[in-house]
């Protein structure tokens, strides 16, 4: 079997250790089958950096059957500490092995003074932050020798210093840093609810040509705020926003993230069929 190339299209899932055996037992890329399976997988980059043994053997076995994207959580692109050169080189080593279609991380920071809080922390949306993040994105892209995509994280606070909307910030960032975007539709919905902005206005402000991947995930609605939990099926309102995103951005590779209360693999594949159906409706069949 020839290893799939380094491009993704269609519909994917986050690859989780609980599902390795299912994926390896019956690798059935949807592009070669009935259109109801999984076209590609996304891995959490840090889980496979400087790792060997069974986890790496499983990863490489899956990679032989599916194209992949790499998604990081520790780049800390907005952090105050200098970029971690060892981390970037390790990320590049993994990318050289995986040949991912997309390398992404989040518009956030994860800690200061050498401490990693392992959370996607919010940034003030200011010119100062924009300059800081754009310079660091360029530095990362120089090391990796390719563009990265930044994802909009869910946020639960905004700053008094904010002078840009998140969509304007991201649009300007793509221009200054020549980077791409990973649009998390659930995160748009969550942040819109939490901060009272209009999600469709957000989508309209995002430069379509920069959106290389879309994330979908479940959340927890606590009444006065929503938390991006990744522990439940995609909410109906997020599916509706996804349909609008497809109308705006077209057939962008789309995947479902599930990180807690992880269901059987077949359940996620079935949920992914919903994305497939909505995208097909929105594009008149072009995304199926």
């Amino acid at each position: 079997m020839t290893r799939p190339g380094d491009q993704i299209s269609g519909f994917g899932l986050g690859l989780r250790p609980q599902h390795f055996s299912d994926v390896l037992a019956a690798p059935q890329p949807a592009s070669g089958g009935d259109g109801s399976g999984v076209d590609w997988f996304e891995i959490i980059s840090e889980n496979f950096m400087a790792v060997g043994g069974r986890p790496m053997a499983n990863l490489m076995a899956v990679r032989e059957c599916y194209p992949m994207a790499m998604h990081g959580v520790s780049l800390s692109i907005g952090g105050p500490d200098p970029l971690d050169r060892d981390y970037l080189l390790s990320l590049k080593d993994l990318a050289d092995r995986i040949e991912p279609a997309v390398i992404s991380d989040h518009l956030c920071w994860t800690g200061a003074h050498g401490i990693n809080l392992h959370d996607l922390l919010p940034l003030p949306l200011t010119e100062e932050t924009l300059d800081h993040v754009a310079a660091r994105v360029r530095e990362v892209q120089d090391v990796l020798g390719r563009r990265i995509a930044l994802e909009n994280a869910s946020t639960y606070v905004t700053f008094t210093a904010d002078c840009l909307t998140e969509w304007d910030f991201l649009a300007e960032l793509t221009r200054r840093a020549d980077c791409d975007l990973l649009l998390d539709v659930n995160n748009v919905y969550v942040s819109a609810f939490n901060h009272g902005f209009d999600a469709e206005t957000y989508l309209a402000g995002i430069p379509a040509e920069r959106v290389k991947q879309i994330h979908l995930a479940g959340h927890e609605n606590n009444g006065d705020h929503i938390v991006d939990t990744h522990d439940a099926p995609v909410a109906d309102a997020v599916w509706e926003l996804y349909r609008k995103a497809v109308c705006r951005f077209g057939a962008v590779p789309t995947m479902i993230e599930r990180d807690a209360d992880i269901p059987p693999f077949a359940d996620l594949v079935a949920e992914l069929a919903m994305a497939r159906r909505l995208a097909a409706e929105a594009t008149g069949g072009a995304a199926a």
Binding site: E46, M49, R54, P80, D84, E128, V157
Partner: protein, 270 residues
């Protein structure tokens, strides 16, 4: 970068690590949902520690395990890019921090689980075969130094925690609490079988623990032999006997896939 961004980030981090509320002055409406970040930080890290130390969790029970993890995280905020390494110092912390230091089997269990974890996913490396030693010229032997597979690691236990840990891994109820090792602390090794990729572990004899420690520290074969001869005590056998014992150990390490490189300073051979 001016100071505004870093100031806010410092305050934000102080809030998460120390409960400092000053950052609220920089948040719209005082940040009514700032607490979501507190919960995410602690919940995520506690979950990771639970995944990395399931047998210790069973041994201590929910409440005490949670207390231990909370105390550890307060003393050891993560400096790692991956949560994989969050528990790196947990065993040492348990062994030196009251009240856990009064329960040595807790530190032993953490050391055992961490060692097995290292063996499980350490980077891959090509191992040497016995043929390499057979081809080594006699004059090179005293100067030989050895490179070990990254999965090989050792830890010292005062309690035999293996049965308990294995039962938890099988999702069985452990029959009994770990028993103290008699007559005293014992060095164990964990590694990964190169074919099955399964984690292996076993206790080491006193001799082998000494020899392995020296070999992993980059000491030469001759230095290992000398240490083994000294460790045999006054009735000991001569240097030749120590060399035979060292060679036997080395053969075992190679058969187990522990050795990935052998060299002698200033010498080369095919």
């Amino acid at each position: 970068m001016t100071g505004d961004l870093t100031t806010v980030q410092d305050l934000f981090q102080s809030r998460l690590l120390a409960g400092d509320e000053t950052v609220r002055a920089h948040l719209t409406a005082g940040g009514p949902h700032l607490g979501v970040y507190d919960h995410a930080y602690l919940a995520r890290l506690r979950e990771v520690m639970g995944e990395d130390f399931p047998a210790l969790h069973t041994l201590l029970g929910d409440e005490e395990f949670d207390d231990a993890v909370t105390g550890y995280l307060a003393d050891h905020p993560s400096t790692e890019r991956s949560v994989r390494w969050l528990g790196r110092s947990f065993a040492g912390w348990l062994r030196t921090t009251s009240p856990w230091s009064d329960l040595p089997m807790a530190g032993d269990m953490a050391a055992f689980e961490w060692g097995l974890g290292l063996a499980f996913d350490a980077p891959d490396a090509d191992v040497l075969t016995g043929e390499v030693l057979a081809a080594t010229p006699p004059e090179a032997w005293p100067l030989l130094i050895f490179d070990f597979h990254p999965a090989v690691n050792t830890f010292v236990l005062t309690h035999d925690v293996a049965d308990f840990q294995q039962a938890v891994t099988r999702e069985d109820d452990p029959d009994a609490a770990p028993e103290a090792i008699s007559p005293g602390p014992e060095t164990w090794a964990a590694w990964r079988d190169g074919d099955s990729l399964r984690v292996q572990f076993r206790p080491l004899s006193g001799d082998e623990a000494v020899g392995l420690s020296l070999a992993r520290d980059g000491k030469t074969f001759q230095e290992i032999c000398e240490a083994l001869a000294r460790s045999s005590g006054p009735v000991a056998a001569d240097q030749g006997d120590a060399a035979l014992r060292a060679a036997g150990m080395l053969q075992g390490w190679i058969q187990a896939g522990w050795i990935v490189g052998v060299s002698a300073e200033g010498m080369s051979w095919a």
